[in-house]
């Protein structure tokens, strides 16, 4: 068809346009199927994003129009010692937590993988994974009681003849409690994902290693760990996006004594924007955090040489 008429460019373009339009029409049903998704994202994702960005440069009043005030909100936020503290808390607790959880999951994966007793194996997987399905209101609520002054842990310590620990009344315990409960809830999830990549190892590889006289420990080091490494990288990249997003856990588990050592950025934004109704500073803080998250994501992706599935 193209060989018959080799007309000028404009003619070609028009034909392409017509073809595209026909195709769009042909696929109208398909586009209709994705319409709800677009409406949702436009209203509930992109609009709030834009609104937040605009309001971060405004003085928002409860009554009357908002006025443009430049970077004043950003000045205020960046100069606020509580914001800075929240920033440090989020970065430190988020990063340490991610690495602790991954390390525990690594150990558990290797360990569970050695178990040949099937019921035992599935039991340990179930109990470690189960808390991942619970909300922080559940897990936080449980540990608030268990670690309380008369809770199970302290009563156990007393039985052993030890001192009670002030998990919620001493600031020094703030972060360790957050890190521990986080690992308790999340490490099992990582373990399940890592185990899934371990079981896909071809048994012939073990067989070959065994014939070569490699001990089990060496097999773990040179077969299992390299095999799960890509999954670990994925979890690291996915986890990095979440580092600055801890909210539920600290909102529920903070106590007056520990609040300052664990207040995260999201809790700060919530307190500013929802509790104190300071929309300008809250949205400015959110924008700063958003930008930081973006930077962290890009850097971690680079470092991990992580390629997103390009098949879309």
């Amino acid at each position: 068809m193209t060989a018959v008429a080799a007309p000028n460019k404009r003619e070609n373009k028009r034909r392409n346009n017509r073809r595209l339009r026909r195709k769009l029409w042909q696929y109208k049903g398909i586009y209709l199927m994705i319409l709800p998704v677009f409406m949702y994202f436009a209203i509930f994702t992109f609009y709030p994003l834009g609104l937040g960005l605009v309001q971060s440069f405004q003085k928002v009043r409860l009554i009357g129009a908002a006025t443009f005030i430049g970077i004043e909100n950003y000045d205020k936020v960046l100069g606020d010692p509580i914001f800075r503290m929240s920033f440090i808390n989020s970065v430190v607790v988020g990063t340490v937590s991610l690495f602790i959880n991954l390390a525990i999951a690594m150990v558990l994966t290797v360990s569970v993988n050695e178990v040949r007793h099937k019921p035992g194996k599935s039991l340990i997987q179930t109990v470690t994974f189960l808390p991942y399905l619970f909300s922080w209101t559940v897990v936080g609520g449980m540990w608030l009681l268990i670690l309380s002054h008369n809770g199970m842990v302290n009563e156990f310590l007393v039985k052993l003849g030890l001192e009670r620990m002030m998990f919620f009344t001493s600031p020094a315990w703030g972060r360790p409690v957050i890190l521990f409960t986080n690992a308790w809830k999340q490490a099992g999830y990582f373990t399940v994902l890592l185990l899934a990549s371990v079981v896909s190892i071809d048994p012939i590889i073990y067989e070959a290693a065994r014939i070569d006289g490699a001990s089990r420990m060496r097999q773990v080091r040179y077969i299992i760990i390299p095999q799960v490494w890509p999954t670990i990288k994925t979890l690291l990249v996915l986890g990095a996006t979440g580092v600055l997003r801890n909210f539920d856990q600290v909102l529920i588990m903070n106590r007056p004594a520990t609040k300052d050592s664990i207040r995260t950025l999201l809790l700060y934004i919530y307190e500013e924007g929802i509790t104190k109704m300071k929309i300008g500073t809250a949205t400015a803080a959110a924008t700063v955090v958003m930008a930081t998250t973006l930077i962290i994501t890009v850097v971690v992706r680079r470092l991990a040489k992580y390629e997103q599935d390009a098949s879309y």
Binding site: K23, Y27, I30, I34, V37, F38, Y40, F41, F44, P48, L51, G52, Q55, S111, V115, R116, K121, S122, Q125, V127, T128, S135, W136, T137, V138, G141, M142, L144, I146, M152, E155, W184, V192, L193, V199, S200, P203, Y206, R216, Q219, T231, T234, V237, L238, T241, R245, F247, D248, L251, P256, L266, I269, G273, I274, I279, A282, M290, Q308, D309, Y312
Partner: protein, 298 residues
């Protein structure tokens, strides 16, 4: 991909049997025993306290068995404190939301596998971008938006927020990709509409995927905390996480009048997690399959 994590082919286990020394195996079992206790004892403690009577639940001790067995904590929290209402709210919002979300995401996933669709890449990119945006950071603007739309203190608000998830779309898309395209082609030759091809060919063949996103969405909605926290003020609309948060805050800060015994507080926790445990025991395979595939495709 539905890697059977819980069982391994017999051949494999034989091939590396007895390779660890006895000492190593013992150490391994000890480690796992400790992990098991750390995971299990808190849950046992919560259950035991919830089944103790008012006085028994206050005894300061390592409680691993109900003290003065009683269900008064459950009856108190369920009727006197009206946890029943929150349970109903959570169920309605989670079930309704899950049904809508699953349908919308499944349709969107189907759109993304149309190879010749103009702008398909652009659509996929837009969805991936929404997955990268940390949505919860915009909570202040989400609040403003809900206020402007009149969704504060409404069931509609609880259902609408979080109705579409990029993760679920991408997940179900991956399941659809494994459906042979020739089936869709033969449908088209028979002049079946796209909706019909979707409903009669793709949905039945991607049922495990559909189950995975259904269960994952349900769990997410059942546990949803931030949205009800910022958009509900009326106690009649409170969902379980909101009530739980109020219940589990240590009561010393409030004026002792409203004291709630630990058995009732722990009963509320047990009631909240029971549906999740049931769901897990029924749908473990789909949940794990979905999570594994989701992480693999990042």
């Amino acid at each position: 991909m539905k890697a059977a994590i819980f069982d391994r082919p017999e051949k494999v286990s034989k091939s590396f049997r007895n390779q660890m020394t006895l000492w190593q195996r013992g150490a391994n079992w000890l480690l796992l025993l400790i992990v098991f206790l750390v995971m299990m004892l808190p849950l046992v403690n919560v259950l035991a306290i919830s089944l103790s009577n008012n006085m028994g639940s206050q005894v300061a001790d390592v409680t691993l068995w109900p003290r003065e067995f009683s269900t008064e904590g459950y009856t108190f929290i369920w009727s006197a404190r009206n946890l029943a209402r929150a349970f109903t709210n959570s169920s309605v919002v989670a079930v309704l939301g899950t049904l809508i979300t699953t349908s919308i995401c499944a349709m969107a996933g189907y759109v993304l596998i149309q190879r010749d669709l103009p702008f398909r890449r652009g659509i996929a990119t837009a969805i991936l971008v929404t997955m990268m945006i940390p949505g919860d950071l915009t909570l202040v603007s989400i609040f403003s938006l809900n206020k402007a739309l009149g969704l504060i203190d409404s069931y509609a608000g609880l259902v609408l927020n979080g109705l579409v998830s990029g993760f679920s779309i991408m997940l179900i898309r991956n399941y659809f990709l494994s459906v042979p395209e020739s089936l869709a082609e033969s449908g088209r030759i028979d002049n079946a509409s796209e909706l019909r091809i979707f409903l009669a060919i793709y949905i039945p063949l991607a049922l495990p995927g559909l189950a995975a996103i259904t269960f994952l969405e349900f769990i997410g909605k059942w546990n949803s905390f931030m949205i009800p926290l910022i958009i509900t003020n009326k106690p009649e609309l409170y969902t379980l996480p909101i009530i739980l948060r109020q219940l589990t805050q240590p009561t010393d800060s409030t004026s002792g009048v409203d004291y709630i015994y630990p058995n009732a507080r722990m009963a509320a926790i047990v009631i909240t997690i029971t549906p999740l445990i049931l769901l897990y025991s029924v749908a473990q395979r789909f949940l794990i399959g979905g999570l594994t595939l989701g992480a693999a495709k990042g």
